[in-house]
């Protein structure tokens, strides 16, 4: 069996992941050998909708067009080149083993599974590790200017959660360079006529005909016009939902609308409580703030994270009486090096973030607000010289100086964790198809590869793997069962969804209240950051679930949207997105409440190791570390939407580990 085209829930309520049979390292090869094909003459009869133009969507649109399909690609930005993949800084993993340091496909696979705290699907992750090799080849051929050694070969650096150097990078602008490569491929296909590009156009709903995803309804963000688009299959590559927290490192426009609308039309939302809080961001400084800025994890290669050992010293730093350099070495707590000696400052993101939070909760934070720790380069500057440090991190240091107004060559950076990436997303099977046939989901928008925590330099890898190599091979499996062009926008389902969209816009415009859209977004964001952020409790989540319906009610009574719907109207765009974030936040909190364990980015305070646990006594882990409960929770939670304000229904996909043994995740 290569795979099943359909992945509807099986009678016992579990989900069919359509994982191919055979030994793990051979599954993808076997799959491709047996997968269905569409002959070249027939490919041009099929039309595909791709929503999103980042690494996953842009790569998928370009590649499917290269293969001969008719593609329509949509993005809300004014150009596909501006998708938020562009902001990724540090790098992209590839198991090339160019460093001869013991890397392999297996090791990248294992690091990713372990990094995800054993909550990702083995078969998908192994495929990702295999494809990582081809991605680097593809990007180099496109002209992506990766860093190189003097001899002309590609250079690598280390990233968190790995003990090998497998990260390819283009200074601190790797995401930009990869996206530009992808965008150029997309523009090439646009010029050839294979892709029709719709910029400044936002998907507002999904259209399902006879149980299959067959189109979308969009709003032209310039004119406000609502139109329908039909296709033989729909691909969502619409990114993550980090902006549910209001403040995050996401771009201002990033939103959950496409994914949430798909959820409301029948697609399951998987593991929404798995959110990544990135340890190295510039701390919040005030209420006016609109977003947070990430400082690349690559900085942790040479920067040392610390706070003073005593609360008194920390208080003096906060008040300005003392500076970082006034604290002698013996009075500093390099807490990551102390707690995780073998990984040190390169401990994975979830663990590093939580450690920073603990230090600040202990009263030893160093930013004015109390929420900040030092990231110190003075040792690196001593060891390597200022020039070398500048060569490696110059643009990041400059960025920090612009925002924080302090020179990191002279005084340590202050950093604090911030919402950065979301591992959860729409449920997909091995084909990257959701439980709604025809609806495929790629990149950050799906849930499949990073488990409960993503390792650094793996998001770019997954986006490009999904777009360049996975979907071109898996999409024919669905298309082969479909006669091309059978559904058009004349179908009553399109008229129905279009009418619903117009109705909802009219409702929003007619509220004519007094409060700004942002005020609701900020209120929601603070609530979920507080109750469903770095640490979660049963009581806190229940509180959030009681509060969210109140925010929703207030929103629909009191939001003010100026201007007209039939015009460029940024407040209306934001209002639609915030209304969806409110509904999404509820699902996220339900998931966090139901998952009574701690794993990766999901830390339930009730479930942590204590001195009495065997794993602590044996020295395998420390008190306070996340405690997984594999017997009960080794599954993917997939939530079915049941109506506004109605609790969603949980479906489970059991996670079966054939190749790796589940163990306590230790980075000591």
């Amino acid at each position: 069996m290569a795979s099943k085209a359909s992945s509807t829930p099986t009678p016992n309520g579990t989900l069919n992941s359509a994982i191919p049979e055979g030994p793990l390292p051979e599954k993808w090869t076997q799959y491709k050998a047996k997968a269905k094909l569409i002959n070249p003459a027939n490919k041009r009869k099929y039309s595909i909708i791709v929503v999103g133009s980042g690494l996953a969507g842009g790569a998928a649109a370009a590649t499917l067009s290269e293969l001969g399909y008719q593609v329509k690609c949509f993005c809300y930005q004014d150009s596909p080149r501006r998708a938020h993949s562009i902001a990724a800084q540090g790098g992209i993993n590839g198991a090339k083993n160019y460093q001869n340091d013991g890397d392999s496909v297996w090791r990248l696979f294992y690091d990713t599974i372990k990094g995800g705290d054993f909550r990702a699907r083995e078969a998908n992750v192994h495929r990702l590790a295999e494809i990582s090799l081809q991605i680097i080849d593809q990007c180099v051929a496109q002209g992506v200017p990766f860093a190189r050694e003097y001899g002309g070969a590609l250079a690598n650096r280390s990233f968190g959660g790995a003990q090998v150097s497998r990260t390819f990078y283009a200074r601190g602008q790797t995401g930009q360079q990869l996206l530009i490569g992808c965008y150029q491929a997309l523009e090439k296909e646009i010029a050839k006529g294979g892709v029709k590009m719709y910029t400044r156009t936002e998907m507002l709903d999904l259209v399902v005909v006879d149980g299959h995803a067959k189109g979308i309804v969009v709003r032209d963000l310039t004119t406000g016009e609502i139109t329908s688009h039909a296709a033989d299959a729909v691909i969502l590559a619409t990114g993550g939902y980090g902006n549910v927290f209001f403040l995050s490192t996401n771009a201002m426009g990033c939103n959950v609308t496409a994914a949430l609308r798909a959820n409301k039309r029948g697609a399951y939302m998987a593991n929404p409580c798995f959110t990544q809080i990135h340890p190295t961001c510039i701390p919040v400084s005030g209420d006016y703030q609109s977003k947070l800025t990430l400082m690349s994890e690559s900085l942790r290669n040479d920067g040392r994270v610390w706070v003073p050992k005593s609360r008194e010293d920390a208080a003096k730093i906060r008040s300005g009486e003392l500076k970082a350099k006034d604290i002698p070495e013996e009075n500093r707590d390099y807490f990551l090096e102390r707690k995780y000696p073998s990984f040190g400052n390169l401990a994975p993101r979830d663990i590093s973030s939580r450690s920073a939070k603990e230090a600040c909760d202990d009263g030893r934070g160093v930013a004015k607000t109390g929420l900040g720790v030092f990231l110190d380069f003075s040792d690196a500057i001593k060891r390597l010289g200022k020039d070398k440090v500048e060569e490696r991190y110059g643009n990041l240091f400059q960025m920090y100086e612009k925002i924080a107004g302090e020179d990191p060559y002279e005084t340590p950076m202050k950093i604090y964790p911030a919402v950065h990436y979301t591992m959860g997303g729409l449920w997909v099977d091995y084909n990257l198809m959701s439980n709604v046939p025809g609806l495929h989901v790629l990149g950050e928008a799906n849930f499949s590869d990073h488990g409960a925590n993503r390792l650094g330099a793996s998001a770019l890898m997954q986006g490009l793997a999904d777009g360049y190599f996975v979907i071109p091979a898996t999409l024919p499996n669905y298309l082969a069962s479909q006669k091309p062009g059978t559904v058009t926008t004349d179908a009553p389902e399109f008229k129905q969804v279009e009418a619903e969209v117009k109705d909802r816009i009219a409702q929003l415009m007619n509220v004519k209240g007094t409060k700004s859209v942002d005020s609701f977004h900020r209120e929601l964001g603070m609530l979920v950051w507080d109750k469903c952020g770095m640490a979660r409790t049963d009581a806190g989540l229940k509180e959030a679930l009681a509060k969210i319906p109140q925010i929703r009610e207030d929103f629909w009574k009191n939001v003010r949207i100026p201007g007209k719907a039939e015009d460029t109207n940024m407040e209306l765009e934001k209002a639609w997105r915030v209304a969806d974030f409110i509904d999404f936040a509820e699902i996220m909190c339900h998931d966090a409440l139901a998952r009574e364990e701690s794993c990766g980015g999901h830390f339930r305070e009730e479930y942590q190791f204590t001195e009495n646990d065997e794993a602590v006594k044996s020295g395998c882990t420390n008190p306070g570390e996340a405690m997984r409960r594999d017997d009960e929770f080794a599954y993917v939670s997939a939530w079915e939407f049941k109506g506004p304000g109605v609790p969603p229904v949980l479906h489970k996909e059991p996670l079966v580990y054939e190749a790796v043994e589940l163990s306590v995740r230790s980075y000591k």
Binding site: K96, K188, T199, K291, P562, D567
Partner: protein, 251 residues
């Protein structure tokens, strides 16, 4: 801090625009320039008005969406930054600030401070790529590229497509944008096979879009947020001249 803003307002592409005055009150000096506009917009919305529309997205200087001319200079008089990286601590309390869109014939206004820069996409579509199908690439390290070439290609590749170069140029020339892309791809060995075709197609598209000629004033270089050197323009001129000659000979 308190400021007076003189802002370009234009309700649509064909409407007549005008400068309007707004008072920005109690702005924290740590706020970014766009956060200052957020605060002003909140006030406008509360007063029942239409907020000032402007393009922005990543707010960390890399997506290239933000595009304001502040006191007559695209992005900022401070070198090497985008509009979203401008912080209010650089202004004086009581100052009057002029805010306008990036102006050029090839960048029509969409609304207020938003402009249509799709001409740039069409220039890239004309030839700003290396034509390599996914799946057909050779092993990455089979292409060795000396560090100098790799670094030079990277420097040119840092362009974010914001259009400040065009807005700063008295002729609204796009030569820095086109030169940067041509240099990025032409320097690399992977880009050599299509070098001539690329520069000819990109330059012809640039002309068709209504961008002006370069008269070597280098205002573009001065405002480029990624500090791309105007050397890419001389390289483009050389590559273009060589391509024209080879095209003529081939005919």
């Amino acid at each position: 801090m308190n400021l007076t803003l003189k802002v370009w307002r234009q309700s649509g592409p064909n409407a007549t625009g005008r400068i309007e005055t707004y008072e920005a009150k109690e702005i924290p000096s740590e706020a970014s320039f766009l956060e200052m506009l957020d605060i002003v917009n909140t006030g406008i919305i509360e007063d029942g008005g239409d907020p000032i529309h402007f393009d922005h997205d990543c707010r960390e200087g890399i997506c290239g969406a933000c595009s304001l001319a502040i006191n007559g200079v695209p992005h900022s008089k401070e070198s090497g930054i985008t509009t979203c990286q401008v912080h209010m601590r650089k202004f004086r309390d009581g100052e009057t600030i002029w805010i306008e869109p990036f102006r050029a014939r090839a960048f029509p206004v969409v609304k207020d401070l938003m402009v249509d820069r799709s001409a740039f996409d069409r220039i890239i579509a004309a030839g700003g790529y290396i034509d390599v199908r996914a799946g057909s690439a050779p092993e990455a390290n089979s292409i060795l590229i000396g560090k100098e070439d790799a670094d030079a290609a990277f420097d040119a590749a840092t362009c974010i497509g914001c259009g400040a170069c065009v807005a700063a140029c008295k002729n609204a020339s796009a030569m820095l944008f086109v030169g940067a892309k041509a240099a990025h791809l032409n320097i690399l060995p992977q880009g050599h096979p299509e070098k001539d075709k690329r520069v000819l197609a990109m330059v012809r598209q640039m002309d068709a879009e209504g961008f002006g000629n370069c008269t070597n004033q280098y205002e573009c270089e001065a405002v480029c947020p990624k500090e791309i050197s105007a050397d890419v323009i001389s390289k483009l001129n050389r590559d273009y001249a060589a391509a024209i000659v080879r095209e003529a000979v081939a005919e």
